[in-house]
C-alpha cells in the first residue's frame, strides 16, 4: 500500500524527500483519472473535509474542492469573511467547534505564518496547509514540481530560477525546500530588499540580474507582484519593476534559448510577465493548474485514504 510518513502537510521544510516523491508519483496516477469520461473515484467515500479559508483565494480553493469531490469526499467550506470570525471568535474556538463535529481533515489558509502548525495542537486529524502567510504553500510547490517533472521527465540536476518578491512569497519558500530536496539547483532573482538575508543557507544562489537568470535556467517560476502588499514603499513603481525584473518579450527574444516559464497565478499581465509570453508555448501555466488538482488528490489520498486512524 502506498503510504507517506508525515501525518500532516504543513510545509515542505519538514517532510522527507521520499514523501515528496511519492506525492508527485501518485499525482500522475490521478492525472490519468482526470482524463476519464467520469473523473471521480470512490477512495474517500464517507470522509468529511473542511476547507477553512481565512484569506481570499480563488484557484487554490477551487482546486482543493475539486480534488476533494473527485475523491468522493464530503466537503464543507468556510470563509472567514462570512463567519463568526468577523464577530471576534478566535482561531482556537473556531477550530474546536468544527472539530467536535467530527471532520476527518482540515485544509486551511490563514494569513499568519505557523497557524497550521498551531492547529495541530487543537485537533488530531490531518491538516493541510493551503498557504500560511508568507511562510509556506506546499501544494503549490508540489504542483510546480510535478509540472517540471512532466515537462523534463526529472527534477534532479535541473536549474530552476525563481524571480519576484521572494521575501513575501510562500510559493517561493516551499519551492526552495522541495526543489533542493529533490536535487535541483535553485537561483533566486529579486531586488535586494525583497529577499531574505542569508537565504543562501538554504542551498540556493542569488542574483539581482534577471538576464543572468534567464541565461542560466532551464525553467523559471515567475512570482506574482502582490499588489496587496504594495503601497508599503517596496517597489518605486510597477513600470520600474517591469523594466528591471519583468519577463518581457524583448528579454526572451534576446536570449534565443529554450526556457520553460511557470507562474502560480493570478497573473498580472504586462507586469511580472508579458501577455504575449503568457500565451506562448513556452509556458506551462495551464498544465500547472491541472496538475494542481491531481497533486491535491494525491496529498488527500495519501494522508487520509491509505492510512488507518485508530
Amino acid at each position: 500500500m502506498e503510504r507517506i510518513d508525515t501525518k500532516h502537510l504543513l510545509g515542505l521544510e519538514n517532510i522527507s524527500k521520499s514523501d515528496i516523491e511519492k506525492i508527485i508519483d501518485v499525482g500522475f496516477t490521478f492525472r490519468e483519472v482526470l482524463d476519464r469520461p467520469i473523473k471521480k473515484v470512490p477512495v474517500l467515500n464517507g470522509k468529511n473535509i473542511v476547507n477553512l479559508f481565512f484569506e481570499n483565494s480563488t484557484r487554490t480553493k477551487i482546486s482543493f474542492e475539486l480534488a476533494e469531490k473527485r475523491l468522493s469526499a464530503d466537503v464543507t467550506n468556510f470563509s472567514a469573511s462570512f463567519s463568526s470570525v468577523q464577530k471576534g471568535e478566535s482561531l482556537k474556538d473556531t477550530i474546536q467547534n468544527i472539530h467536535v463535529m467530527k471532520m476527518d481533515c482540515v485544509v486551511m489558509r490563514h494569513p499568519v505564518p505557523g497557524s497550521c502548525l498551531q492547529l495541530t495542537n487543537y485537533v488530531d486529524v490531518p491538516i493541510i496547509n493551503a498557504g500560511d502567510g508568507s511562510h509556506e504553500h506546499p501544494t503549490q510547490a508540489l504542483l510546480d514540481m510535478m509540472s517540471i517533472k512532466e515537462k523534463f521527465g526529472k527534477i534532479k540536476g535541473l536549474k530552476i530560477g525563481i524571480v519576484g518578491d521572494i521575501l513575501h512569497s510562500r510559493v517561493a519558500l516551499s519551492n526552495i525546500f522541495g526543489l533542493i530536496k529533490l536535487g535541483a539547483k535553485v537561483k533566486l532573482c529579486a531586488p535586494p530588499h525583497l529577499l531574505q538575508r542569508n537565504i543562501e543557507h538554504l542551498g540556493v544562489s542569488v542574483t539581482h540580474d534577471v538576464d543572468e537568470l534567464i541565461e542560466w535556467a532551464d525553467a523559471i517560476n515567475v512570482l506574482r507582484i502582490q499588489r496587496e502588499r504594495m503601497g508599503l514603499g517596496l517597489i518605486p513603481s510597477i513600470r520600474e519593476y517591469r523594466t528591471f525584473f519583468g519577463i518581457t518579450n524583448e528579454r526572451i527574444k534576446k536570449h534565443k534559448k529554450e526556457i520553460v516559464l511557470m507562474h502560480p497565478g493570478p497573473i498580472n499581465r504586462g507586469v511580472e510577465i508579458d501577455s504575449e509570453i503568457v500565451d506562448s508555448d513556452q509556458t506551462i501555466i495551464l498544465d500547472q493548474v491541472l496538475n494542481g488538482v491531481a497533486v491535491r488528490m494525491s496529498v488527500l489520498y495519501l494522508l487520509l485514504g491509505s492510512k488507518d486512524f485508530e
Binding site: 483519472v33 469520461p37 473515484v41 477512495v43 488507518d308
Partner: protein
C-alpha cells in the same frame, strides 16, 4: 512470507493453460471486432498480454487492450493488504458497446473484480463484461464467477496462490503457499 507448499503449475503448463483460455475466449465470441481485453494490474495485465499475443498469432486478429488499476476502487484499501504500487489505468480505446473480457491472475474473494467493474463504468458503458482468470481458488465473498477459468485449485484459508510471471518475478510458475 509463507512457505511454498507445492508447485501447482510450471512454465510449460502455464503457457498451455493460457493458450486454452485464448481459444476459449475466441470460441465464445461471435463478433471478434467487438471484443476488448482488459488486464488488472499487475499480473492480470501480463496474462492479458499473453492472451492478446496468442490471439494475434493464431487468428491474426488485433484485439483492443487496456489496463486497469483498481486501487482507488477497492473497498478494503485502508487495510494494509500489501497491494502493489498504485499506477495509472491505461484504456485508450472507447469501451462503449464493447464486449469486455476482464483478466486477472487469481480469483479469490471477488472484491477486486467488483472494484474493476465499478472502475470500468467510469470509462463508459460496455455491452458486456466477462471474466477470465488463470486460477480460481474459491472463497468467494461476492456473487461473482469467472466465465473462463484456467485451473481450479480449491484452497484452505491459510493458503495462498502465488502466480509468478517472468516480467515481474523473473520466472513463470504458480505456487501454493502456506501462511
Amino acid at each position: 512470507m509463507g512457505k511454498i507448499k507445492i508447485r501447482l503449475l510450471d512454465e510449460a503448463e502455464i503457457s498451455k493453460v493460457i493458450l486454452r483460455l485464448s481459444h476459449e475466449i475466441i470460441e465464445n465470441q461471435k463478433d471478434l471486432d467487438s471484443i476488448a481485453i482488459i488486464g488488472i494490474r499487475t499480473r492480470g495485465e501480463i496474462i492479458a498480454r499473453r492472451i492478446i499475443d496468442n490471439i494475434q498469432s493464431h487468428y491474426n486478429k488485433k484485439i483492443d487492450f487496456g489496463i486497469l488499476d483498481v486501487t482507488f476502487y477497492r473497498d478494503d484499501f485502508s487495510k494494509n493488504l500489501g497491494s502493489p504500487k498504485v499506477g495509472p489505468s491505461d484504456i485508450t480505446f472507447d469501451i462503449n458497446n464493447k464486449n469486455i473480457i476482464l483478466i486477472d491472475d487469481v480469483l479469490y474473494t471477488g472484491r477486486t473484480i467488483r472494484a474493476a467493474m465499478d472502475e470500468l463504468f467510469s470509462f463508459g458503458r460496455p455491452s458486456s463484461i466477462k471474466l477470465g482468470v488463470l486460477v480460481d481458488r474459491g472463497h468467494r465473498e461476492l456473487p461473482i464467477k469467472a466465465d473462463f477459468i484456467g485451473k481450479n485449485f480449491p484452497t484452505s484459508d491459510n493458503e495462498h496462490i502465488h502466480v509468478l510471471v517472468e516480467e515481474v518475478d523473473d520466472k513463470n510458475e504458480v505456487n501454493l503457499v502456506e501462511y
